[in-house]
């Protein structure tokens, strides 16, 4: 069975990598236009080819694909058109900031969404449930960039408490306490914006799965046995409601590497999200391929971990013929 699963993952990886190669090239535009801009209109074909040759983009498409595939095996993702640097260096520069930003916001939104969702389901139909549902749906429906702009306007422009851009203070030595304080201060607004908006998704999953679990017969039995309310809710209800929440968190983890394009752009946060966005605009094929490779691997890895985790969370999954 494990061999079959591994083969499936390898197949998905190969297909996805091929799509990653093709997708940026299908879109209209070319790195040449980013590199030379409107001057392309006045350049000769030889001059245009010379510019593309620097990045081996003048080669036939099949040769480019072979180079790409061989490069992946060798760990060489080529050179970014936009940065003029090896793609790995660019990715490794931006990845930590994305993990910090997205990881923290996922932790916050998953925790808050789950806790509020579970309690809302517990008190389903009550004023707290309706209040929480209204609030969370309202927050979840607000575009993240708008939340971000409101936060910047209030906390940066009006109060002057928080810096509005960047991930760290330029000129402050890395590793010093002041550096870390500045990193934390610059995380607060982007993480708040992301967490506020994403909590809704986690909340709805937690609330619905918990509400369904609380209507099961075994909950009635537990009540009939005279168990304490908290024991019924958390030991019997929450544990059985956990699987969809876990799935939701793992799916979000898979997408974590992709970053938060809009939020990172608004806050000039140097994560992978804004880098991918800028690379799309520049048609930076090599960097896009590299970034998509990371995203692909992280999604597959998260799925794999999720698959492995199900049997631990739900013994029924271990039994043949029973699905969660």
């Amino acid at each position: 069975m494990y061999l079959r699963i591994a083969a499936q993952y390898v197949l998905v990886l190969i297909v996805t990598l091929s799509i990653n190669f093709a997708l940026p090239r299908i879109a209209p535009g070319s790195p040449l236009l980013y590199l030379v801009g409107e001057d392309v209109a006045t350049m000769t074909q030889a001059e245009q080819d010379q510019v593309l040759r620097e990045f081996k983009l003048d080669r036939p498409i099949v040769e480019q694909f072979v180079n790409y595939a061989v490069g992946i095996v060798q760990g060489d993702l080529g050179v970014s058109v936009r940065y003029g640097m090896p793609v790995w260096d660019v990715l490794l520069d931006h990845l930590p900031w994305t993990l910090l930003l997205m990881g923290t916001s996922l932790l916050l939104s998953a925790s808050a969404g789950t806790v509020i969702g579970v309690f809302a389901a517990w008190k389903q139909g009550g004023k707290h449930d309706i209040g929480a549902l209204t609030l969370v749906l309202f927050l979840g429906s607000i575009p993240p960039f708008w939340v971000a702009m409101l936060l910047i306007t209030f906390f940066s422009a009006q109060l002057g408490w928080l810096p509005s851009y960047g991930a760290y203070a330029i000129g402050v030595a890395s590793g010093t306490p002041e550096y870390y304080v500045e990193v934390v201060r610059r995380m607060i607004m982007p993480i708040s914006a992301l967490a506020l908006v994403n909590t809704g998704n986690m909340f709805l999953t937690a609330r619905s799965s918990m509400a369904m679990a609380l209507e099961e017969d075994y909950i009635m039995l537990a009540h009939a046995k005279g168990l304490r309310e908290l024991t019924v809710v958390f030991k019997h209800g929450f544990r059985n409601a956990l699987l969809p929440i876990y799935t939701n968190v793992m799916v979000s983890m898979g997408h974590l590497i992709g970053g938060a394009m809009v939020i990172e752009t608004v806050f000039s946060y140097p994560g992978l999200g804004s880098t991918i966005y800028d690379s799309v605009l520049a048609r930076d094929y090599n960097l896009l391929q590299g970034a998509f490779l990371l995203v692909t691997i992280s999604v597959l890895a998260a799925n794999f971990i999720a698959d492995m985790g199900y049997p631990l969370l739900d013994p029924r999954v271990r039994r043949p013929g029973v699905s969660a």
């Binding site: 879109a27 209209p28 535009g29 040449l32 236009l33 980013y34 590199l35 030379v36 801009g37 409107e38 001057d39 392309v40 209109a41 006045t42 350049m43 001059e47 010379q50 510019v51 620097e54 990045f55 058109v81 936009r82 940065y83 003029g84 640097m85 520069d93 509020i116 309690f119 008190k123 707290h128 910047i152 306007t153 940066s156 422009a157 109060l159 002057g160 408490w161 928080l162 810096p163 509005s164 851009y165 960047g166 203070a169 330029i170 000129g171 402050v172 304080v181 934390v184 201060r185 607060i188 708040s192 752009t265 608004v266 806050f267 000039s268 140097p270 880098t275 800028d278 799309v280 605009l281």
Partner: protein, 574 residues
């Protein structure tokens, strides 16, 4: 009960976050303004005060004329800031912090100063051979002297190496045939055809690069070292997409710059950049203030606003490579059917100049005086009728002479809301004379691809000073137009051929005027407006900016000693 506890915990958590935020104090960059003001006072300069806006407008209040450190927001990354990474952008002034030209400030102005050159002389009557005598004692940032070898190398590297925004000055217009080093400070250059504008255009636009650093660089766009220049600032650190740090070049031949350290931070989102300026996180925003913010910002006591000529333009491009725009009368009809003035009024709130003044930029030294691209709806109707573009099926809309309906696309980049609005107004104006059209928005990269695909009827876009205020570039643009045109234009070809043979500045200018007249009569560039540059800065941090045509107020001349600025700057207009 449990809910109350959770609510209370959330409130406490929010308060905690607020306290942490508040305890951190203002960001370090905002300290700049507070520390530089006392320094100014200590040096005998007038101390800044919190004067009301009205007082500032009359310049009663002057902030510090020097600063130890400034932080300025930029919005467009350019790798390590070399001639191969920066291209055409609002940020090209960043390149000039580190690099110099033989003549400055630019090819756009009528009066310029010898900079790296001590003199540039035409030594042949046919205008083909020039001799450049370099200023003695100029050094690169690594301490080595600037020599004629560097200048000769620059010319040859740009002529032979990979193309960039500047290389046409050596490889095409003009095409340099021979470059000779006469002595350590003298270079002689000979071109294939006359180059009477050499000292006014080529020398005033071409950055000189160091031979020692570049001679072995074969892939300049993958060269990521810090570039060595001769300019007033030396880059000491950069992280593309994040920041650039420059230190003053104490040995600069025009005197030590007035600001010791410049930090340029990348803030891509315009609203975030202006918020950062408002809150004091940055001291200047190197992008033009949107006109709608002008009134509000004018009342901010911490901010000064300066108008400065940027020499940019916004135009409607009529596709020469597609029917029916290959017909010159059709181009004329489209041009006179479009009225730019309502766009200037409604979109730019009159913060700019009207496109009725034609192409190229009316403030360029090379533009024919009194040039115009008129608005004349009656003439448009007359031309369309003559061309046979009439309403043949009675639906109120004009059709082609073959009776086919017309629905031209007007393509715009999706990240340009002002241009989308302009395109919508053009649709209405064309509809008034029975021409149907519609707006199509494309992502910026797809929009750029129109340069090579030619898949558009009309498009609204902007053009930089390089393309709109430089005489030689007008010829380069003509060559580009020719590449795309559906059919040749013998009249224009003849004018350009005469331009290439003209051996004096005056003769070239005269021929250039002819080309401009013809281009404005049958334009494929219908100018819409020329935006004013409106720049905001925190005057208590530094208050010694001056406008320079084509660069706004953020450029190296604003940081040079006042006595060294000379003709590179113009008077302040507030």
């Amino acid at each position: 009960m449990m809910f109350r506890r959770i609510s209370a915990m959330l409130v406490v958590a929010l308060l905690g976050i607020s306290i942490i935020a508040a305890c951190g104090g203002a960001p370090s960059e905002s300290d700049v303004g507070e520390t530089t003001a006392p320094e100014a006072a200590a040096s005998g300069q007038e101390a800044p005060t919190d004067a009301p806006a009205a007082a500032r407008d009359t310049d009663d209040t002057q902030g510090p004329q020097t600063a130890s450190k400034l932080t300025i927001g930029i919005w467009n990354t350019a790798g390590n800031i070399t001639t191969y990474t920066i291209g055409n952008s609002w940020n090209d002034w960043v390149l000039w912090l580190s690099f110099d030209k033989l003549v400055e400030p630019s090819p756009y102005v009528s009066e310029a100063e010898y900079w790296l050159a001590e003199s540039i002389e035409q030594i042949s009557d046919d205008g083909r051979t020039w001799e450049i005598k370099l200023r003695d004692g100029v050094t690169w940032h690594d301490g080595t002297p600037l020599t004629a070898e560097d200048v000769a190398f620059t010319f040859v590297y740009y002529r032979e190496g990979p193309a960039n925004r500047w290389t046409h000055h050596c490889s095409a217009v003009p095409r340099m045939e021979e470059v000779e080093v006469i002595d350590p400070l003298t270079v002689r250059v000979t071109s294939a055809k006359p180059m009477p504008n050499f000292d006014k255009v080529t020398a005033a636009d071409l950055p000189i690069i160091q031979k020692a650093q570049w001679e072995d660089v074969e892939e300049p766009r993958q060269f990521t070292d810090i570039a060595i220049g001769t300019g007033p600032y030396r880059m000491v650190e950069y992280k593309a997409d994040e920041f650039y740090r420059f230190e003053a070049n104490e040995n600069y031949f025009k005197g030590k710059p007035l600001v010791d350290e410049l930090t340029l931070v990348m803030i891509k989102d315009p609203q975030t950049m202006f918020t950062a300026l408002k809150s004091g996180e940055i001291d200047g925003a190197a992008r033009s203030l949107p006109p709608e913010l002008l009134a509000e910002w004018a009342n901010d006591p911490d901010i000064k606003i300066m108008h400065a000529p940027t020499l940019w333009g916004v135009w409607l491009d009529v596709n020469l490579g597609r029917e029916p725009f290959n017909l010159r009368e059709m181009r004329q009809a489209v041009s006179v059917a479009v009225n730019p003035d309502p766009m200037l009024e409604n979109i730019m709130l009159n913060e700019g100049q009207s496109g009725l003044q034609g192409w190229p930029h009316p403030d360029s030294q090379w533009t024919k005086p009194d040039l115009e691209q008129p608005y004349d709806q009656a003439k448009a109707i007359e031309l369309l009728d003559e061309l046979g573009y009439v309403d043949s099926d009675g639906d109120g809309l004009r059709d082609t002479p073959a009776g086919e309906p017309i629905d031209w696309n007007i393509k715009v980049a999706s990240n340009q809301p002002l241009y989308i609005r302009a395109a919508e107004m053009i649709v209405k104006q064309l509809a008034e004379i029975g021409l149907q059209s519609h707006v199509e928005t494309l992502d910026p990269a797809a929009f750029s691809s129109l340069w090579t695909s030619g898949d558009y009827d009309l498009r609204v876009m902007e053009i930089t000073p390089h393309g709109i205020a430089d005489q030689d570039m007008l010829i380069i643009l003509y060559k580009g137009d020719n590449n795309r045109a559906l059919e040749p234009d013998p009249e224009k070809d003849a004018i350009v051929a005469r331009w290439f043979e003209a051996a004096t500045v005056e003769a070239r200018l005269e021929v250039s005027y002819e080309l401009q007249e013809l281009n404005n009569l049958y334009p494929n560039r219908r100018m819409l407006w020329y935006p004013d540059g409106i720049f905001a800065y925190r005057w208590q941090a530094y208050d010694n900016y001056q406008p320079s045509s084509g660069y706004g107020i953020y450029h190296k001349y604003s940081f040079l000693p006042n006595e060294s600025r000379g003709l590179t700057v113009s008077n302040v207009e507030e």
